[in-house]
Symmetry: C2
Subunit: 375 residues, 2 copies
């Protein structure tokens, strides 16, 4: 998507330097736009763990490119294929919740399972990582197309069929499930970009999304850079806006979705789902099927990451043109920092996937993905 007048992906291989991957270091957005170069598996684990990159799909693709870096490193260090498998284990430890991380690494490893020559492995792994990145872009586009139909239908209802292109749709989103959370286009925001492209009037309520404020920092920034009007609100505000009829639709992403439609997503998603349900507002999760965990039926079985309490105690922002951390509670106060919560399927109107839209229940998901279901 656009940054100023230029188009970017969030991650790309340096075409001139083998084993080098570029990312947008998202910790500095929106105040600074910094491109970081990843050259080692340590760079990759650090980038994922410390959230230079984040968002379930992008974590997956970064991990995939991480194995490409690992293959080059492995060759340099004179190691064999085992080095790549060890790197995968290391990368898997970075973040426990997003399914895509494990999926992407397993896909990568299985692509080289029959190979023994290191150059052949490097070649295969490079192609495979690029293919997965391109597939992520294509999936996000498809999610956008399917999600667009929901918006189009809702705007027709809202405008009672007349002048639907003059009626503004107010869409609330939590955290960042935009192009910055994927390779391009995004999941939850992809339908919005398409709607905008096709002339529908969209306005987005952006949950700031404490503790790390990915909404206020990333979603507000990417929407603005791509011409979609948006307003930042605190995470506390969405319920009130829904009560007042100021929200037409909620779309969020998903870090892991169970085979029966429970959605693990950024902490606070559950509260917005409850409120959407209480006010009869459609609530959709948009996700590539790579984030579906076919092994888990009950959302409570999804491991929830607990992060450093200082992410709660300190807030990061711009002060005198510098990015600094300010302390909020008393110095001695402890904090607790779960990164995700589970929205039960009963509160989810539907799932928007690359194959189409389904209800958040076992049968409907299985109908869309018969090939993924264990017989």
């Amino acid at each position: 998507m656009k940054v100023g007048k230029e188009y970017y992906r969030t991650i790309w291989k340096d075409e001139n330097k083998p084993g080098v991957i570029n990312i947008i270091d998202q910790r500095w957005l929106p105040h600074k736009f910094i491109i970081e170069t990843l050259k080692s598996v340590d760079d990759v684990t650090k980038a994922i763990q410390e959230m230079h990159v984040r968002g379930a799909p992008l974590i997956g693709i970064t991990a995939a490119y991480g194995l490409y870096i690992s293959s080059i490193e492995g060759k340099k260090k004179g190691f064999n294929k085992k080095y790549i498998f060890d790197s995968a284990e290391k990368i898997k430890l970075t973040r426990p919740t997003a399914k895509n991380l494990f999926w992407a690494l397993d896909e990568m490893l299985s692509s080289i399972s029959g190979l023994d020559n290191i150059d052949e492995i490097i070649h295969t792994i490079r192609i495979k990582a690029k293919d997965m990145a391109d597939k992520d872009v294509a999936d996000c586009k498809s999610i956008g197309e399917h999600g667009f139909k929901i918006i189009e239908k809702l705007v027709k209802n809202k405008s009672r069929g007349i002048e639907s292109y003059a009626t503004t749709m107010n869409i609330l989103t939590h955290c960042n499930a935009g192009w910055l959370a994927t390779v391009d286009y995004g999941t939850a925001l992809a339908p919005l970009y398409i709607a905008r492209e096709r002339g529908l009037k969209i306005h987005v309520w952006v949950d700031e999304t404490r503790p790390r404020n990915q909404g206020a920092k990333l979603t507000a920034w990417e929407l603005t850079e791509n011409g979609i009007p948006n307003t930042v609100i605190v995470d506390n505000a969405g319920g009130h806006l829904m009560q007042k009829g100021m929200v037409d639709l909620v779309i969020v992403g998903s870090d892991r979705t169970t085979a029966s439609g429970d959605v693990a997503n950024k902490i606070g998603t559950y509260l917005k789902a409850l409120s959407a349900y209480d006010n009869n507002i459609p609530f959709y999760a948009a996700l590539p099927s790579s984030s579906i965990d076919w092994e888990i039926e009950n959302g409570e079985d999804i491991p929830i990451e607990e992060r450093n309490p200082d992410e709660v105690r300190y807030v990061n922002g711009l002060y005198k043109n510098e990015i600094v951390n300010v302390l909020i509670p008393p110095e001695s106060s402890p904090a607790l920092n779960y990164a995700f919560d589970i929205t039960p399927a009963r509160l989810v109107t539907g799932l928007i996937t690359e194959r189409g839209i389904c209800k958040a229940n076992k049968d409907s998901i299985a109908e869309l993905f018969p090939d993924k279901i264990k017989k």
Copy 2:
């Protein structure tokens, strides 16, 4: 309550200087403890509007003392009684939601309705303001006693009657409805202080309460100063903790309660009420009856204050021993800042008032306050 080893109220008359009122300037807590002197009606309106003092009961008492200041000012300026009535009108414009502001000013004005001599007026108004402050303290103590019974009963259930004094009760609260929101003791936190005094084990989940972080800043501070263990969480986290069985009880304050039990309180309260309801966790609002609006039955009719969007865009905290504001979203991003929301009575387990506990419905409230009901 205690600050370090000393006891304070949040507001008190300077005994040596007529027309001078002291307050704790709460904007600097928890990082700095600053006492401010209010000497004019302008000081008072500014202190309320810019939230040097906040919390419905304390806003009411500050307004009452404001009329005392006004009476002294009025005499100095050679004005008559009209000056005091004009001051009341001015103070009423500071904040629209908290009922106590209007209630306190009307009580004050009616106390001098039959008087014409300015010295008699000053005397009456001074006594009345002090009486109202003392009444607030007494009411909060009563709220504490009634609320304590709820905690005691719940802890007995939780511990199945055995060793209830060894079982920790996890109580979640939103914003600050502690002693800092009142003259002393608090509303939502008063039962906790009593529980602590009587040896029950209490642990509090403190919602940070964006945008102004009164939870992280004020609630965490006052609980810690008074020996109650507490943990700061982001506003997004409460739902997840409830799903995991980590919350036994929710108690919040109220800025205005309708005669049928709808509760206007800090924005985000509604989301916690939804989540408590969804997880079968008791949800109480604690309030002096001065915050009940006997004229309004439907919560939607309560005026909701909209504050400066910069309270959302900037976060205030400690950096290098200085209190500074950091910008979170892009410089150009708009924000919207409603200060309160309405929790419908159907989600409220009960109201804890100075007269006892009632259900959040018209009949139950009327039964407790038959004298307030219009025939």
